[in-house]
């Protein structure tokens, strides 16, 4: 009996030493992820409520068979809008094609000024655009997809960044340090230090398994840790 007790105590002590940092990181990151409201992590507070954009505001014309044939086969056609103009979005085998709703010509990407204007309108805080950068592909905080994107940075609301589509000007995503901290802690939580997404990694498995033994030993020790105080005994 005695021996098992010591073994359990030793296990708890040594595994505690090995795991101490990771256990603390799990708890601290878990505490952050639970204590900070998810909606703030997602950055919903960074945006103003959408103004209604009605297609009727813009002039456009139907798209004819001849026009469409250039891009066939087309699996869908969508009439939508971007900054002050109607826009056709065609889904084709070559990808998405953007046509001016009025002229049916291919549209040019939006300019930096356009993007800055859209961003300023969307952003819920009264702060100037600090910088607007056209990135060749999504940054890591957006998942790194190989597509260009406008990054608009603000010096407000925990370094908020809004991301916009270069052609449509549609909001793609929003990030702030609240999200970045969450993401960093998530990395620490799941112990995938490269992609920050693989929860099935071996390091995590090993750590969690060890931690399970550690915690079990700790719980076990509770049985020995609470004693009714003995009356002084004299031989």
């Amino acid at each position: 009996m005695m021996r098992i007790k010591f073994l359990v105590r030793k296990t708890h002590k040594w595994l505690g030493l090995i795991l101490s940092v990771q256990l603390l990181l799990w708890i601290v990151s878990g505490l952050y992820m639970t204590a900070v409201p998810l909606t703030n992590v997602h950055g919903n507070h960074l945006l103003k409520a959408d103004d209604e954009v009605l297609l009727n505001q813009y002039s456009w014309q139907p798209i004819s068979q001849a026009e469409l044939e250039q891009y066939a086969p087309v699996s869908s056609v969508r009439l939508t809008s971007r900054l002050n103009q109607a826009l056709y979005v065609l889904t084709t085998e070559q990808g998405l094609i953007y046509l001016d709703g009025e002229t049916l010509e291919k549209v040019r990407p939006l300019t930096r000024n356009d993007i800055a204007m859209i961003a300023k309108k969307k952003f819920a805080y009264d702060a100037p655009v600090q910088s607007a950068v056209l990135l060749k592909q999504y940054p890591q905080e957006l998942g790194g997809r190989n597509q260009p994107v406008w990054q608009v940075n603000f010096n407000a609301a925990f370094n908020a960044s809004l991301y916009f589509h270069p052609v449509t000007g549609a909001l793609i995503s929003k990030r702030s340090d609240i999200w970045r901290a969450f993401d960093f802690l998530w990395m620490l939580h799941i112990m995938d230090y490269d992609e920050r997404s693989d929860v099935n990694n071996n390091l995590l498995f090993l750590s969690a398994l060890t931690a399970l033994i550690f915690v079990t030993a700790g719980l076990w020790l509770l049985f020995y840790s609470f004693h009714r105080r003995n009356k002084k005994q004299v031989a």
Binding site: L54, S75, R78, A211
Partner: protein, 626 residues
């Protein structure tokens, strides 16, 4: 407290504050562990399950194929749609279910419109089922239902929602919105995952909200478990833990106590247990310095075998047979030969080293001094009646002739050639002395010291007692403790105290405790034996107590009286026997406390056993044997 960290602090001889910190850390750690440990376990278990369950399998999408997109007719004119839905913000022509549709966004709502009627159209069951077949070929559909009630499984979709159960190993269900748009597939892996998810985020009803108050609260609590645990690491690990080579040369000693204290120390082989423990910071009290005669270094070996014929038992003969049977042994007589488990007295684990200054030192008789000391810097010692301290006596020597003394002492010393005596301490030694004071928390401690004079022609006197005799006000002393087992049991039974000479010291403490602290009404009888009238210590104080308390009586006996006296004549044990025990009608139910020189002690114990007083009723403090 069950506290190996305390030990470390003893080893470092660090201050009480450190001990207290560790004590509180340990309390926080274990109580929060008790409160929240189960959730911590569930977090780790569920976390492990998330890791173990394959992400792809949980998502279930691997079971499905993506249907090919079919193209639309090459004629798109949204004019009519926009007329009918003037608030639309997006109009899209799509191909679905083998025909064409308008998919529009109107007031932030998605609508699927029939291209002819331009009316929003819900999708019928057969269409949904054909969609399933497209995505999940070769699977049998068990049932298809339009759900308009919230379930845990459809919690993330807008209602109503199509649920199609199919017969595969995963008992999958495919979900489509009311326009036939595929939403998700839920598998058994996902369902299992979801249960662990619920346990992980502690949202037991919705399983979605991980910002709930409960999980935040518990996470904050476990943060304290973790932090206290990490801080405790500094105290539970000893350097020895990391020395692998050294560990081989050393053997582990598991240290326990009656209330569950546990720790482990590594010590070198082939030394006595008392030495080994002392090097690790566990100082067992000892007067004889390892001679096996004082009996103070008693420890318990839970695994010891009792074999009284074994010659090794002679070494422990000062211990009673019952104690030996119980596993008690003398720390100084045990050699560390291998791993062992030792139960130490609580006091050894709690002992403190105190520093103090002598404030008074006066002769009560030519051979007895009363020494009062005050602990430094307002420090206090909390002790119980009957406990003793160990004085640390540094290496050195004392010429008695240099000790200042009043005339009556000087006369006696000259007559008895004490002037020429010398006390030598070739090594630092420790000596035990009982407190005379009323127990509690004290800044001032009072001790009685009797000078050990030689019984033969030698000119050396007691090394410890001569040291204490030489102390003058202002001298610094260091002492450790408290120790002892000479406790009084709380009861209303009569208390019979038998003291000889300076053996009155712990008895004074007991008497004061009973009368002044407990206000006990029990009968207390003191038998106090000395050689002659001049040796009666604390006569005034004792007489006053007799006057003041009707339940306290005292018999003083003189063993060496030369003339008639108002006191009884004879050995105190004999006086007690003839004057009191013989007439007593319930002696075995009394409680006895005996303290005095060895001879007095042994004769008293013998008499008590003749009167059938059980061992359990007798406590004694054996201070004389060195």
């Amino acid at each position: 407290m069950n506290n190996s960290a305390q030990v470390k602090s003893y080893q470092e001889k660090s201050n009480e504050a450190n001990i207290n910190t560790v004590f509180w850390l340990r309390r926080i750690h274990k109580w929060l562990g008790l409160l929240l440990g189960l959730q911590l376990f569930l977090w780790v278990l569920s976390g492990l399950m998330f890791n173990w369950l394959d992400h792809k399998e949980v998502s279930g999408r691997y079971l499905l194929t993506t249907p090919e997109k079919s193209s639309i007719a090459l004629q798109v004119d949204p004019t009519d749609v926009l007329k009918k839905y003037p608030n639309a913000s997006s109009i899209q022509r799509v191909s679905r279910f083998n025909s064409e549709w308008w998919l529009i966004e109107d007031n932030n709502e998605q609508l699927l419109l029939d291209v002819v009627s331009l009316k929003s159209k819900r999708i019928a069951k057969p269409v949904i089922e054909s969609e399933v077949n497209k995505r999940y070929p070769d699977v049998k559909i068990i049932s298809t239902n339009l759900e308009s009630e919230r379930t845990l499984e459809n919690r993330r979709f807008n209602l109503p929602v199509w649920r199609v159960d199919v017969s595969d190993e995963q008992e999958s269900a495919l979900y489509f919105d009311q326009y036939g748009q595929f939403l998700d597939i839920k598998t058994n892996s996902w369902r299992l995952f979801d249960i662990f998810w619920m346990l992980h985020i502690m949202d037991y009803s919705g399983r979605t909200d991980f910002n709930n108050a409960l999980v935040i609260f518990v996470a904050a609590g476990t943060l304290f478990i973790s932090l206290s645990g990490i801080l405790l690491l500094f105290s539970v690990f000893k350097r020895q833990d990391f020395v692998l080579a050294g560990k081989n040369k050393r053997v582990p000693i598991q240290i326990t106590s009656r209330n569950g204290f546990e720790t482990e120390v590594f010590v070198r082989k082939n030394q006595t247990l008392i030495d080994a423990l002392s090097k690790e910071g566990f100082d067992l009290p000892s007067n004889c310095g390892g001679g096996g005669t004082c009996g103070l270094c008693k420890v318990r070996l839970p695994q010891a075998e009792f074999n009284h014929q074994s010659s090794s038992f002679n070494k422990h003969q000062i211990l009673s047979r019952n104690a030996l049977k119980d596993g008690c042994r003398l720390g100084c007589q045990i050699d560390v030969t291998g791993a062992m488990t030792v139960e130490l007295p609580e006091q050894v684990l709690k002992q403190q080293v105190k520093q103090g200054k002598v404030t008074a030192s006066r002769f009560l008789t030519p051979l007895v001094k009363e020494i009062v000391l005050e602990l430094d810097k307002g420090d206090e010692l909390s002790f119980q009646a009957g406990e003793y301290m160990q004085f640390h006596c540094p290496e050195g020597s004392v010429e008695l002739s240099y000790i200042q003394r009043p005339d009556f002492v000087d006369d006696y010393w000259r007559d008895n050639k004490i002037n020429s005596l010398k006390g030598v301490r070739t090594d630092a030694i420790k000596r035990a002395y009982s407190m005379v004071d009323k127990p509690g928390r004290c800044r001032e401690l009072t001790f009685l010291v009797r000078l050990e004079v030689p019984t033969d022609d030698s000119n050396t006197c007691g090394a410890g007692s001569s040291y204490l005799f030489s102390l003058v006000p202002g001298d610094n002393v260091s002492l450790s403790g408290p120790f002892g087992e000479f406790y009084a049991e709380q009861s209303d039974d009569e208390m019979i105290l038998l003291g000889g000479g300076v053996g009155i010291a712990p008895l004074m403490s007991h008497i004061e405790y009973q009368l002044h602290v407990l206000n006990s009404k029990r009968k207390i009888t003191l038998f106090y034996g000395v050689r002659d009238e001049s040796e009666v210590l604390y006569l005034d104080k004792l007489s006053q107590l007799v006057d003041e308390f009707s339940n306290f009586q005292m018999v003083i006996a003189l063993s060496n009286a030369k003339q008639h006296s108002r006191y009884a004549i004879g050995n105190i044990s004999d006086v007690a026997r003839y004057q009191y025990f013989k007439q007593h009608d319930s002696l075995p139910s009394c409680q006895f406390y005996v303290c005095g020189p060895p001879k007095m002690l042994s004769s008293t114990l013998k008499i008590l056993s003749q009167f059938n007083v059980p061992d359990s009723k007798v406590r004694f403090d054996d201070f004389g044997s060195i």
